[in-house]
């Protein structure tokens, strides 16, 4: 891991006294490789290493008896700070229902996450309703209904309606008339480069006036995370991110990439297939995971 690699790098200079520019150069190369191995985006790594370089040539590393450890500490600190705040809360609307719109690429975990959020809200005493706005994927509506039944959360669906805009309008009406606190809208997976489907999301945003537009991203996403997040953010002004499937062994560098380019907070992480598998995001833990 990075700690060991840096120890080796700096061990080579024992007896040479002062750290040289070359030593730091080699050490920063190890930091760069560690982040690239964690799937952090190439350009994001470049900027990050530049940040670290400033501190690396400063007193804390140069005068340290354990420069390797000191550098790892700096990298970890910088990463944690970049990852954002601990436990950022879900926004709520001034008038109920608070609408939360879930968006993202195909298969990232939106439908499952929508149900997980409903589960969480119900445990906190709220009255959420799930909205089946994915009219494209085979059995998507059924999937959300089955999940809703598992946690006793109401699901709004309209099998006759092929336009998600109408479904959302109807769901909003129903939630207001029933005095529900939250509307969790599950949307179809889509490519950020699919203009028509991105337009659909823009229309849903106008109709719903959501308090949250959450981009659901698979933790194993590679370099493409930046392109995807930038596009969704540009088109919709997302309010936050949910990183899923963190119960696997993906390093999750996409988290840093997305945070760096959108500046939007990661609010939750998905940690399993069951509906209890949703936890608040902890930046320090994510930083440790990315560093391996």
């Amino acid at each position: 891991n990075l700690s060991n690699k840096l120890q080796i790098t700096f061990k080579k200079l024992k007896g040479h006294g002062k750290l040289s520019e070359q030593n730091i150069k080699e050490a920063l190369r190890e930091v760069r490789l560690a982040l690239l191995e964690a799937d952090v985006n190439f350009k994001v790594v470049k900027d990050f290493v530049d940040r670290v370089r400033e501190r690396a040539i400063g007193q804390e590393v140069m005068k340290s008896l354990t420069p390797g450890q000191q550098l790892v500490k700096i990298v970890h600190e910088e990463l944690t700070e970049l990852m954002g705040q601990d436990r950022v809360r879900l926004a709520s609307a001034s008038m109920p229902p608070t609408v939360i719109l879930l968006v993202g690429l195909q298969g990232s975990g939106k439908t499952t996450t929508a149900a997980k959020l409903a589960n969480l809200l119900m445990k906190e005493g709220f009255k959420p309703m799930l909205v089946a706005a994915d009219v494209y994927r085979p059995a998507a509506i059924k999937q959300l209904e089955v999940l809703g039944t598992q946690i006793h959360a109401p699901v709004y669906s309209n099998l006759e309606e092929k336009d998600p805009r109408v479904i959302c309008k109807e769901a909003l009406q129903k939630a207001k008339s029933q005095g529900l606190t939250h509307l969790l809208v599950d949307t179809a997976g889509r490519l950020h480069i699919d203009q028509a489907l991105m337009e659909e999301l823009k229309d849903l945003k106008k109709i719903l006036a959501p308090s949250e537009i959450l981009l659901v991203v698979d933790a194993m996403t590679g370099q493409d995370a930046v392109t995807v997040a930038e596009r969704f953010n540009k088109d919709l002004a997302i309010t936050g991110v949910i990183l899923t499937k963190l119960d696997g062994d993906a390093r999750g560098g996409a988290a840093l990439s997305i945070k760096a380019v959108t500046q939007k907070p990661i609010k939750f992480i998905g940690t399993g297939e069951k509906l209890e598998g949703l936890e608040p995001f902890h930046p320090e833990r994510m930083a440790s995971r990315i560093l391996g």
């Binding site: 191995e37 799937d39 085979p138 059995a139 194993m220 996403t221 590679g222 493409d224």
Partner: protein, 278 residues
């Protein structure tokens, strides 16, 4: 990559960026770059204008070894098991495969081996309807091996040509889920000698270096005969298969390029390399 008079460090860094951004991963990128570097040192490669084409040839050579054709005529019924982590496109890909084989005049049987995830069986049934083939299923929650058992009997008695088994998505790091998959494979082989004839791992092209861990562990636990790389209609390049082909020697059979029935193509190394550098 143009406008330079000799191959220097800056030019190699530019190449490194192209490869990393295409998700080749650190290992494969360092290997390719160092191979280029040694050629430059030996003066075998001196012209910067040649660099890109040389790089493309080097990667093409690796990928060419990784082309696989699934030959369903090798056995009847020919059994294909489709596995992979959650959400990569297994169920959708099975619909596409069924359509493919039906077009070739074959009788196809689908097996609803995902008895866990909400509406997984209904999802496969819709693909079965679209492709025009039957689906063997039980109620959700039953042991998936029981569905496999029934499917193998049905395959024989109905004299089908191809059987495609859908399985629940699962993370490669979950031992109990890998054990479940091992049992499914064992039951298939016990009931139909030689089955499964293909075990295909479905990888999402947006996945980074975790794809290597996925391929490694699924291969160690279950034994893979090939890969299917999906969602190449997005902006991700899927370059990670370079390392998987080179290091693990697992070939790629198909690529997924969309969400519709016909959005499946055989893996072609030349097209793939062109897209990598596009």
């Amino acid at each position: 990559l143009t406008g330079k008079t000799r191959i220097d460090e800056g030019l190699l860094e530019q190449l490194e960026e192209v490869l990393i951004l295409a998700d080749l991963g650190v290992d494969a990128t360092l290997k390719v770059i160092s191979s280029i570097q040694s050629k430059v040192k030996k003066k075998e490669l001196e012209d910067p204008a040649q660099l890109k084409s040389h790089l493309k040839r080097e990667i093409l050579a690796i990928l060419k070894n990784g082309e696989k054709a699934v030959d369903i005529n090798q056995a009847t019924p020919f059994v294909i098991m489709v596995i992979g982590v959650n959400g990569t496109g297994k169920t959708t890909t099975i619909g596409k495969l069924a359509h493919n084989f039906k077009k070739a005049g074959k009788q196809v049987l689908l097996v609803a081996g995902d008895t866990f995830r909400a509406a997984a069986i209904e999802q496969l049934e819709i693909w079965g309807q679209r492709a025009g083939c039957e689906v063997i299923k039980h109620e959700p929650g039953v042991d998936p091996s029981a569905v496999i058992y029934d499917a193998m009997q049905a395959a024989r008695s109905r004299k089908v040509d191809v059987v495609i088994i859908d399985t629940a998505g699962r993370l490669h790091t979950k031992k109990n889920l890998m054990d479940e998959l091992k049992k499914m494979k064992r039951i298939a082989g016990r009931e139909l000698s030689g089955a499964p004839h293909e075990v295909l791992l479905v990888l999402d092209a947006t996945t980074g270096q975790n794809a290597i861990s996925q391929a490694k562990l699924f291969h160690e636990n279950i034994g893979l005969t090939g890969l299917i790389l999906t969602k190449l209609d997005g902006t991700a390049k899927g370059g990670i298969i370079t390392g998987i082909i080179n290091e693990l020697k697992i070939p790629v059979a198909y690529i997924g390029v969309g969400e519709k029935l016909m959005d499946l193509r055989p893996f072609k190394a030349e097209e793939f390399v062109e897209a990598l550098f596009a």
